[in-house]
Symmetry: C2
Subunit: 360 residues, 2 copies
Amino acid sequence: MAWPRAILTDSGGFQVFSLNDLRKVTDEGVTFRSHLDGSSHFYSPESAMAAQIGLGADIIMAFDECTEYPADRARTQASMELTLRWAERSKKYFEDHKHEVPWKAVASERWSVASDAKAQDSSQSSVLGSQQTKIPRSARNDNAEATRNNNNNEAEARYTDHWPLATDHCPTQSLFGIVQGGMDLELRKESAERTIEIGFAGYAIGGLSVGEPRERTREVIEATLEHLPADKPRYVMGVGTPEEIVEYASMGVDMMDCVLPTRAARHGLLFTSEGKVSIKQARYAQDAGPLDPNCGCRVCQRYSRAYLRHLYASNEVLAQVLNTLHNLSFYLDTMRRVRHSIELGEESRFSLASRSRPKP
Amino acid sequence: MAWPRAILTDSGGFQVFSLNDLRKVTDEGVTFRSHLDGSSHFYSPESAMAAQIGLGADIIMAFDECTEYPADRARTQASMELTLRWAERSKKYFEDHKHEVPWKAVASERWSVASDAKAQDSSQSSVLGSQQTKIPRSARNDNAEATRNNNNNEAEARYTDHWPLATDHCPTQSLFGIVQGGMDLELRKESAERTIEIGFAGYAIGGLSVGEPRERTREVIEATLEHLPADKPRYVMGVGTPEEIVEYASMGVDMMDCVLPTRAARHGLLFTSEGKVSIKQARYAQDAGPLDPNCGCRVCQRYSRAYLRHLYASNEVLAQVLNTLHNLSFYLDTMRRVRHSIELGEESRFSLASRSRPKP
């Protein structure tokens, strides 16, 4: 894949959940049939950890069960207990095997270089005040790079650059725990506290965006965040729209992930500073203006709405490519605005949030 | 489309030819059914010119009939005569309407700026000694650019840069004639001479790559080139492989066009300095090396053969994107080598050609 920046992998818990009719859950793990070829597979906390250690992502996730919506209290509690047992097994397997990550040897060696360099510039701090964890850029491409005679000094510099917070320990992967508990705020509190007891490098709020109303999502996030430590990354999984990202960030969420920008792009739904644009509409057939006049991405700098509409209507591969480039640019711009707003301080954060937060 | 460099459009003659079962040819023009929606259309020399003037490409082509292969002498001659009548009508329509090209007004104004600039640097000459025509970079994007507040000085500079040969006339589109005559060398000679009599800015050799053996293609090109003026661009339509490009360039061909690099890329067939690579093959599943160790393109610099094979096997859009980028880079590199070889002089041209030309 040759991605030179941080990578996060999910454990497969949510992905198996989405195969509702093809799975069977036991305490040991999940048996499911592939939607691609019908083949049978078994995932357990241990196999999910082994896969993620083998892939070598920077952040990996505990194996969890995503509770369906709606679910009664007994079912929600049983599901939460299962996720907690799996969290302990995930942590144990990770602690026993984390040295097996493919880039561990290279990372350890380089770590001392990075630490020395950083000791002279300890004033640097994260833009996100609450995010104090160390996220190493892995050296996963080193072997491939070596065969191509790339410049090792440049690779070294990039590696060091991507560890701005590195100070006190040799890097390995960071394992995050996942809080479940459905829409029940009491169970969310219990799940959060017991997940923290097990102890992880960061904490995710899972089991949202599963069909519940958006206002309910916000309430669960707000109630759960209270019980998560502010000095560890707090990550809401599977959200959201640009407005939701701004809103949740203003509540203290550090990380989010979502297929929305790329999936919507492939279906011609584009996010702009002036709202959503469905580029397939005939109204854009003669529109010579840029997709978003306030966007600096290379799609908006170069192409007209009429051309983007033509590409989509003609089913051109380039439609998917350009639409995806724009939506990802728009999301990155949104996060840049969020970080800038946080830098400016608490007051600005609230004014930014007020644009999308429902009035009481 | 926002393509900032030279654009060439074909007249539709060959494209209609490829719809063999759906067309009816008369002296007036061609009636055909769309393979997309079954709708009926009529193309004539006049309508083909009107379309190409409206599109505003830098080089446009006369409307011709591509003679099928095989064809007897009577059929080949009748087809050639039809193409000659259509060439005259194409030329007449173009002369009467060439001022209607959308960028004409902007081009005329800018032309004086460009001419002044070039007067001080008249020592510049084309790398291709035989290519003396003026190919203007059109100003077709000016309106769109203006609405985006782009830097006009920068656009002006780019515009001037792309007219390196401009010296003596106000630019408009360049209309090329197309030589037909099937595989009959006598008819090819006659077609060339009578097309030159009509008079065009450049001359194309059409009706090749229609199923004939490659050696026959080379013979027809060689025999036809003799009758085309060396001080106008000579363009072989619809070829070819990298080896053919080198071979035909060494024979004096200035221009070629082909879908091969992009179509082959979409089917996983990649051109490299070590020969063709069918990236779908299982032998590449674990191959961590670059696609082409001698290629500087961003695909070869970043990705492994194993990754490219995975993308193709998974039917990812990115497979088409990366494969196309590489094949186009390889073709551009091939043309760069050809130009460099021509710059080095006649001897070098022959040594370059000897790599692919059959020994007598």
